[in-house]
Symmetry: C2
Subunit: 247 residues, 2 copies
């Protein structure tokens, strides 16, 4: 038994009860249904298979996922925390739309945070192995562009940014930016084909990569900032021009 010897040892005061073996901070190995539900729902949402505006009650979703309502509820709470769905008491969960206004918000934050983060990464003087995935992503962007594969280009672009985040010394920042990427993902899918071929982006990534490799933090920050600002301008003007206030 766990604590039969002290059945009611006031929890209010029981700081750091028992062994301090923090070691076992191992997170769950995703074998749970909650995690399965979370993953599957998130994948459906980000893949636009559950489009913005889609709505379903808990029993419906539970049936879809072949499990009971309990794990579904818990997964939905997480997704709500990440800004992907909203829970409306008698109407179940609803996949949130991504309005132009949301994209404005998201890009403003990204513009403020990513360059700062990239500069930090540069300052940490990442070695070639660390930057490998970034270089690979950049090359893949070029290759995808050459063969006109916009989806592959977008995927590689995403990989570049996420791999850079993986190098971040600021985990909190990286996690948050990652959820912003998730939120923006669907809108980018849609605008991808509404814009001119993203030639410049690839070149910008190359230059950022060079600055990173050189460990030049200020330069990295500056390059990254203009990269983000340009991307934000492009995206937002596409949204306003095409009147896509809701995606």
């Amino acid at each position: 038994m766990r604590r039969s010897a002290r059945p009611r040892d006031p929890p209010q005061l029981a700081n750091k009860k028992m062994t301090d073996n923090e070691l076992q901070a191992r997170r769950r190995k995703t074998a749970t249904r909650v995690d399965d539900a979370y993953r599957r729902l998130k994948s459906e949402i980000l893949g636009n298979r559950m489009a913005p505006g889609f709505q379903a009650t808990e029993p419906e979703i539970a049936a879809m996922l072949a499990m009971s309502r309990t794990p579904v509820r818990e997964a939905l709470i997480r997704l709500e925390g990440e800004g992907l769905v909203t829970l409306i008491p008698r109407h179940g969960a609803r996949v949130l739309p991504v309005a132009a206004e949301d994209m404005r918000e998201i890009y403003q934050i990204l513009t403020a945070l990513e360059p700062e983060d990239a500069a930090d990464v540069a300052a940490s003087r990442p070695d070639e192995a660390a930057l490998g995935p970034l270089a690979a992503a950049t090359e893949e962007m070029q290759a995808a562009l050459d063969r006109g594969d916009l989806d592959a280009w977008a995927g590689a672009d995403d990989r570049f940014h996420r791999n850079l985040l993986a190098l971040s010394p600021n985990r909190r920042l990286a996690d948050f930016v990652n959820t912003l990427f998730d939120q923006a993902h669907r809108a980018r899918l849609i605008t991808l084909r509404l814009r001119a071929a993203p030639n410049r982006s690839t070149a910008e990534h190359r230059r950022i990569l060079e600055a990173l490799a050189a460990g030049d933090a200020p330069k990295t920050r500056k390059l990254f900032r203009s990269h983000r600002e340009r991307a934000a301008d492009e995206l937002l003007s596409i949204l306003s021009v095409s009147g896509l206030s809701n995606l």
Copy 2:
């Protein structure tokens, strides 16, 4: 009944089912136990009554709050999402410590985001009514300082920043910064008495307030950034000097 006429109308495709009366986006009016649990636990944690490192199993917490495990679990999931607790499978929930490293992360993000946000607020040319709470908070800071009431000073400082966030045109940014404030709250409580009297801070708030009232975005940004940078430096040096790597 809700949809008895179409008992299994494929949820996968049932986008925007029924009426589009989005109006009813009214959030729950907090009458739920989940919300109660969330609020109470958060209050205990931020008030340091549940200190970092405190650990309790779900049944224990449920007993403390006089409710069943279900709402407790859901509240804990939210708190985990906000970075206040961590859930360790067989050990219940644990109140996260705030390490110096965490504070570094938090302040780096704040330094990047808050000035940007403040500049936006300035650009929106807030009227006197909007800035009223900020002015009041600033005065209260001074008054608290005059009578040596550090707690009141800290409270007023917090109010200043949160009230400014309330004016933010970027809700997403404001929400995130608010949760960062929550995370940093306890560490600030502790360092509050380890530092010199925060005289400068009040003056800085005054100048920021002037820039806001003048609608001078660049100036607001600059002032806010140096305000944040100084605060970060102070706090982090206190933490390192006093060897408080964990709070």
